[in-house]
Point group: C2
Chain length 232, copies 2
């Protein structure tokens, strides 16, 4: 196994409605074939005009949107709602937030983050001729453990799960099930160079195992079928 490098892309600047993310990222980053780009949800939502006007004087004005974007409420405590979004994600406040957008606006999740990832990937291939994989990331909490981590909400060009079932362990015995969610691990790795407030919305992960490239979807491959889920 070789080393991985995680490189923040600086200088992306302000993203507005209709911004061409593929061109902006290709111009700002020194991209190479085989790079995995991790792009934070917020700039995708802005470029795709997933912004909604909210009352800037009311810090809870986005709460009706949370219910609207949810298909199932799992838990409520005070102002906190943990729900399943229409995309299948289980997260706080349906992934809607007010940080890093203008006052009076709330950013919803992209309609289809796998498609968003595919567009950026195809755009970079078309404009710069560079083959990259793309992950759209967002910051989610989780039960049982404090703190938030970044996870993948969309991807293109990378297998969401590296399936090590049947690979021999170092004792030569067959591993029974080890399905590693590499897109979530890559999203978490990228977050480490982004911070939450430093204006770095994209990072490159360079050196990823070429065997991990391929077609897959967060929505199809990572979101667990509610029927298989012990906690829904």
């Amino acid at each position: 196994m070789d080393s991985l490098t995680i490189i923040p892309i600086t200088g992306i600047g302000e993203i507005g409605v209709g911004s061409d993310l593929a061109t902006i990222i290709a111009d700002a980053g020194d991209l190479q074939d085989g790079d995995v780009l991790v792009v934070t949800q917020k700039i995708v939502s802005k470029a795709e005009n997933m912004l909604v006007e909210v009352d800037p004087t009311n810090p809870l004005s986005h709460k009706p949107l949370v219910e609207q974007e949810s298909v199932r409420i799992l838990r409520r405590r005070g102002e906190l709602i943990i729900s399943e979004t229409k995309h299948g994600f289980v997260c706080a406040n349906a992934g809607i937030d007010l940080s890093n957008v203008e006052h009076g606006q709330a950013a919803l999740l992209p309609e289809d983050s796998d498609r968003s990832a595919r567009r950026i990937r195809n755009g970079i291939k078309g404009k710069a001729g560079i083959d990259v994989a793309v992950i759209i990331s967002d910051t989610f909490g989780r039960p049982w453990r404090r703190g938030l981590t970044d996870v993948a909400i969309g991807c293109s060009g990378i297998l969401p799960i590296a399936d090590l079932r049947g690979t021999a362990d170092s004792y030569g015995r067959e591993l029974q099930v080890t399905e590693v969610c590499i897109v979530d691990e890559l999203a978490s790795a990228a977050e480490l160079v982004m911070g939450k407030s430093t204006g770095i919305p994209v990072a490159i992960v360079r050196g990823v195992d070429p065997a991990w490239f391929g077609e897959g979807s967060v929505r199809d491959d990572i979101v667990r079928d509610p029927a298989d889920d012990l906690f829904r």
Copy 2:
């Protein structure tokens, strides 16, 4: 923000009961001050003799151990048990597994993985004079999302959570709560160069923000108080 590099440490070889992990890691890796070492639980459990004999002819012979190592069963489905371990972790089969150990053995989690991390850190400081932070990692599933990711079960010399509460976002507005679990993100990042069966039990994360170094404990800072937990 600068780049991060994730470097697998190869050549660690077989770890046995009583192996001096600090010396072995310092000898195998080209360590530098400020490195974060991510050490997989399995070699810590072996070095600390957390191995238990099980019937090698019965693939379910470790199941009574799961109940013994648990303080609360959250869910059962077939052979799968999701429980809270005596350390406070919620995971499958109390973190006990049979992979990468000899036939007829099962590896339990270390008694106190924060202490294990501290011992390795202090040992490397004492023997090689190098200041590193140490994370002990394990591979856990999670609700709602398929696939496993590596998380921290112990740490020393690094703040488990980078608390961005009150830091201004890129619009100058105060972020309300963004507590990033950097030890889990670092564990996930490290897993990307380890694989599950390649015999690489330690990785270096180089380039971590010096502001993240400090004292903390996974058990005290990451394990969520059951009273605060909406899913227990």
